[in-house]
Symmetry: C2
Subunit: 294 residues, 2 copies
């Protein structure tokens, strides 16, 4: 039976583009004609929504998926919750796979409540989850994935500099912590594999450490990777390529500011922000196609 990762892989193939556009809008990122309406939490949430809808319209035939960063909506309290759901709904109706980047983590009935909050209903296909609590903090999510045909991406090796002080610690077993977590992620997702061989339980693996990504890619053949760190964090298509399998599959690369705030770059400064987002998404697609020889 097809799982959500099969559906993601099909959309990636159809568009020839393993990119997920990160929808992380901040008021200071809005063009002046929208920023002027952002006076308080309700009006800021509304301005952010308007900004984001227009970007979705312009990138929906270029990227297969969007990732909504919860923090940039929670900052507007209940107005943000409403807007986050509205944007997810808008993206779903545009045919996009929708990920909620929430990095939730808890145990027992608390994790069940998070799983219900984000994976019941039709808004989100995937959420991100933090592994620090072990399987007790994962099973409520994988149970929900099995029930509702959804997926999760579990943090393995993140793209930020200080991650190494924890994730790269060498264990007595010889593995680094991120390798140990990677093996657990493969184990946690082994019963949720789809027709493509990839599980609905994926891993977050940064583009900023290609050698480490390549080692994880080889060790975890059934685990789909969500790859942050491209663009603003310094990763390039050639770096991200380490997270892909030999057929150019098995991963999707996130870019947030590089797409939605592209209009502030000199090369796109003559364009409206939504046209700049489209051009930046096309440029990233070409970079990845070239790096992956698609």
């Amino acid at each position: 039976m097809k799982n959500i990762t099969d559906k993601l892989a099909e959309r990636i193939k159809k568009l020839g583009n393993p990119t997920v556009a990160g929808l992380d809008p901040r008021v200071d990122m809005l063009p002046d004609d929208l920023k002027k309406f952002a006076k308080d939490k309700p009006s800021s949430a509304k301005a952010v929504a308007e900004f984001t809808y227009k970007i979705i319209d312009k990138i929906k035939d270029i990227v297969p998926a969007v990732k909504i960063q919860s923090a940039f909506y929670e900052i507007y309290d209940e107005y943000g919750t409403v807007v986050m759901k509205a944007i997810a709904d808008y993206a779903k109706r545009a045919g996009l796979i929708v990920m909620a980047d929430v990095k939730r983590n808890d145990i027992g009935s608390t994790a069940e409540a998070y799983a219900s909050a984000y994976l019941d209903g039709d808004l989100y296909d995937y959420i991100t989850v933090n592994p620090y609590l072990g399987y007790d903090g994962i099973k409520p999510f994988t149970d929900k994935c099995a029930e509702k045909g959804k997926g999760i991406f579990v943090l393995a090796r993140t793209s930020n500099p200080s991650a190494a002080a924890i994730q790269n610690m060498k264990l007595e077993t010889g593995d680094t912590l991120y390798e140990h977590i990677g093996k657990l992620i493969a184990e946690w997702g082994k019963d949720l594999k789809g027709e493509s061989g990839y599980s609905a339980v994926g891993a977050v693996v940064g583009a900023t450490n290609p050698a480490e990504a390549a080692r994880l890619r080889a060790a975890l053949p059934g685990v789909f990777f969500l790859v942050p760190g491209y663009g603003a964090q310094g990763g390039k298509g050639a770096d991200a390529a380490a997270s892909f399998d030999e057929h150019g599959g098995g991963a999707i690369v996130n870019n947030s500011r590089g797409i939605i705030a592209a209009y502030r770059k000199p090369e796109y400064s003559s364009l409206a922000y939504y046209d700049a987002a489209r051009e930046a998404a096309i440029a990233m697609r070409e970079d990845l196609r070239s790096a992956l020889k698609l």
Copy 2:
């Protein structure tokens, strides 16, 4: 200068009770006369709020602090966000220290957005944070703590059974991962110490492993502990005592269902739910006083 942990320690001392009551209400936990109003998300959020307000009224002179578990409000979408804020406000005005158990974790401007969402304004004195991303995922929160006089509790050794498969992994250095994280937490909070010697950056250390808690307590003299696992998860006062310093300070013990759902226990079944919560909070106070020889 006093930090938030000094204020917490003062309230604990004044009430002679190192208990934080976890406000984790679920609809299936409500008494029938409230449950009957919970039909959908708005009405469920409202029923949960009414339930929780009455408990706060009855425990505010017994416990020094409450911990609000975000998951049980997020499940009601924007209605939950409104109610979570309203409960925090109600608890603050009752003189309680308020913790938001959100376990957020992210980096850079995303973590700044979370810090702003939960530590700007007057609602929450502390939030919980997950350490897996390293200092990049902590600094935005500690910066906000310094600016606003707030605090965080960072997960070190959690109370759930499967935590060991990650947190107890032995590192090449000889430390377990949770000991390594504990030392990082002490380092991250070293500039936020108050008059009592305890930092505004605390650690979550479960009551279910007293030997491990005792080892962390000895290793981390300036780190205040938030102790889950008492009651429903099996920990008793004598177990929780391992997290306290030689003066009976340095820690606060959480109890959620054991207080707010106490009315369902045989010994409290003749009481209204809020009176049962009060009696259970008093019984826990006496258990901790006895274990700590206060």
